[in-house]
Amino acid sequence: MNIHHFRRTDGAQTLYIDGNLQFDSSDEAVYHESLTLPALCLASNPKSVLICGGGDGLALREALRFPGIETATLIDYSSEVLDLARSEFKELNGGVLDDPRVTVVVADALEYPLPKASFDVIVCDFTFPTTKEGALGFTVEWYEKLEDALSEGGVLAINGVSPQNTASAFACLVATIRSAGLSTLPYRVCIPSFRDHGYGAWGFVLASKRRLTIRQLRDIGCPVSTKQADLSLLHRAARFSAKARLGFATAPVNRTTKPVLQTLLLNPVAPTSPGSADAPPDFPNLIRQVEIMHPYHSRSMIETLAEHVVGSLKSIDLPKLVDELSTRSKQLPKRIAEELASLREYLSRTILDLDLWGKWAARLLATLILVMTIANSISPDPAFAKGHAGLGHASFSRGLGHDSFGGGILTPNAPISGRGFTGTYGRDPVDIYGYQYSPRIYFYGHGSGVYGGSGGAGSNASNLYQPQPHKPLFVLDDDLMAMENGDFVIPLSETVFLVVANGQVNLMDSQGGKPLMTMFAEPKLFENIRTEVSAQSGDLDREIGTRRDWLSWVGWTRSLFGSVRSDTDEYRNLQDLQRRLAGSMKSLGYSSESQSIPVPAGVAELFVGCHVLPDNRIALYSPGGHAAFLDGKTISSPSQPDRPLPASLKTAILSVLKKMIAECQKDIASDKAETLSLATDLAATESDLSQYQSIYSQNGYDPTYEVDYGTDSIGVSNAIQKTQQDLDSIVLDQRVNEADIQKKQADLERFQAVILSWSQ
């Protein structure tokens, strides 16, 4: 390994390994923040980090900045780079190698034994592979090893290659990671020093056992500030063209036994077809089929060498050579001639047999095509697995009964991909995609005050009331859970939740499991829970059906194949969930209320049956629509004069308000980042439109003149039309975003005013 460290006159440092730039201190933060922080943000509660490679300590610096990191392990086989990290780079990495949380291992990470499920975040910061050995750190076997070492909610961050300059190699990398059974989220970042070196936009890949989506990247909310990278825009960098996405799905997998990455890196442009067999030999075209096999070789070197070979061949007088060979053949011994004749006979027979096989193969293929065609004509969807639909994660928004209520059921086309239904079902909550959630216990009882008594505002009817622990079984939505006992729970804050069952809605305090109040049973809440459960039950039906079909074929092989055993367990658990959801629907009951409570202008809804009034009072609605008004000190209703506000109810309302304030602030920050991003998009799109219009006029208004539109080439007239549509869409997004910000800002101010008013 050739390591070169330079310090420029401006004080900036650069590190080159084997001639490739590793970092330039002037913009290294773009690279290391973009590589490390997204994985830390997307991992669930990361505590332990493993960094493979990255001996310079810069990725480690980013990892240790993240709150909650307890241990970090750095494995790098270059003691030379590690020495530099402890000396020259100390001012850059902040001396993190000496941090007490850090364990530095001088070893080859590929051979170092990694304990199972022991790291929440793994960062692969290997150098750009210049040899086949170097590419071993990008193989499916290595990623399978990392998958084993990754905890269930963990995320893997991989330094990739350039999707701009070496698109096929980047696609190969993504396909390889996917082949190891990990969900991937590739993205690229423009690093100025890399660009100056001609490396192009640089690619990274996030991977995890659970599903990763661009949406998660959009809502990343990094708790640490960044120096150079803009993580709020990272989701845009994760959008790839359809052609690139197709490449991710179809690219070859880089295996130890069949390494392809190195070849793809050295030959970024696929060789063209050598032409038909009947055509005369085209030597230049044939030469282009020769792959570059070493990083120090280039296309021009190979072509020059080949030209020499071609020149030498051309100097041979082929007709004269053939004549000479013919003359010599007459002098061959008789036996050789006989053996050749025998060989010819044998070849004739073999070729005949091969011909026969060819005919049979053609018949088999024709039969297969016939079967598929008939199967598709009889039953189009199952034959090609089309028409799949699922449910999204639209938030129930605390069970609100109006505008934001039941926020929108999506159909994102996602099947069960998590392992929740095969292993921990019944122990940990699980959602429709099979993803597991952290278990949480809710304490409440079924005595008076929850299902039995009316429990007016502030009443604390605890006669016969026995709170018991209840576990969530199924996560229908971010804010709605079906419990093991058939109830539905809507968490409002860390300490307060709503229990919806038997036609009632109860506000509960998780500290002690006491019922705070029986709330107005908003009819729309029940209707929307039913809609959500019905929709997800439909999904469950479909998933159960697919597993039943599969097991009807192969169920008897469960003793032979572990995966069939898993499928059987999953099938049984899905059936169990379906039964339980049906039971939950029965025990949900129906609201006895005939109509919803209106939310007048100027009133903000905190949760179902709880309104924040313009005078900073809170209105809590009990069954029958009777309101009780809370002003922070007293609670009053038309039928009952002012009474002291119970401390538990006050604490509960304040905890929900605080949570809502935090959520509003987060949403507003996200929306504002989106505003900036949309403004950038708008400017770029307007510039594109202006350029297209200019090209259109410069080419005599020829609508067919081809221009680049994204990754496609289309007619300029079409490009103008599409760009105008893009502009309209961005403007619409801006309006929607602005309205959203205004509404959330108003809510935020209202909630803050209540807290201020109540604390006086």
């Binding site: 059974g181 088999l364 039969t367 297969l368 016939l370 079967v371 598929m372 008939i374 199967a375 009889i378 039953s379 199952p382 034959a383 090609f384 697995a385 799949h388 099947p415 069960i416 991909s417 697919t546 597993r547 039943r548 079909d549 599969w550 097991l551 009807s552 074929w553 192969v554 092989t557 032979l560 194949f561 572990g562 995966s563 069939v564 499928d567």
Partner: protein, 178 residues
């Protein structure tokens, strides 16, 4: 001459040729010998054509039968009905037809012809059915899936092939007009 004609009628063309050779050396009129030779050639060609047609028919019955069967999953048919159709009715039909295509063949020849056609059809049906069922589950473990496909397709194919083979040996060979 009579023995040669009977051999032709039985579809035993080798025996007919044997008699033809004897006739050509024992002084029978060359015109009669030539007439017999032409008759053998003609009948042999007809028998070959009939055999090929029967093979095609057997394949068509098997493929169409399994295509209809693939309309629903085994579970949707009901395991017993599906088992009867996939491993009894269709193999007997296809295997029986395939067996009749072997004129004057030995039982093993009939068996293997019927076995081949039935088992290939059943294995193809199984592969297609399995891959469709698995695709709907969006399975990610492709290598394990392939192993399952292979084992199940071989077992189902061999089972159907055995039934078809037995059916093929139990029916008489096809004759023109039969």
């Amino acid at each position: 001459m009579v023995a040669a004609c009977k051999a032709i009628e039985d579809g035993d063309f080798a025996q007919a040729r044997h008699h033809l050779n004897n006739l050509s050396v024992d002084g029978t009129h060359p015109g009669d010998v030539e007439q017999l030779r032409r008759l053998i050639l003609q009948k042999e060609a007809e028998a070959t054509k009939l055999s090929v047609n029967r093979i095609g028919l057997a394949f068509a019955v098997a493929i169409l039968g399994y295509a209809v069967l693939s309309y629903k999953s085994p579970d949707a048919w009901g395991q017993i009905v599906w088992g009867l159709l996939a491993f009894l009715v269709l193999p007997i039909l296809a295997g029986g037809l395939a067996g009749t295509s072997v004129a004057n063949g030995t039982k093993p020849a009939k068996f293997w012809r019927a076995f081949g056609i039935t088992s290939i059809s059943a294995a193809l049906y199984t592969l297609v059915g399995l891959s469709i069922a698995r695709a709907r589950m969006h399975s990610s473990d492709k290598s394990m899936d392939f192993a399952i496909y292979l084992v199940v397709a071989v077992i189902y194919g061999v089972t159907a092939g055995l039934i078809g083979g037995v059916a093929g040996t139990s029916l008489p060979a096809a004759r023109k007009g039969s």
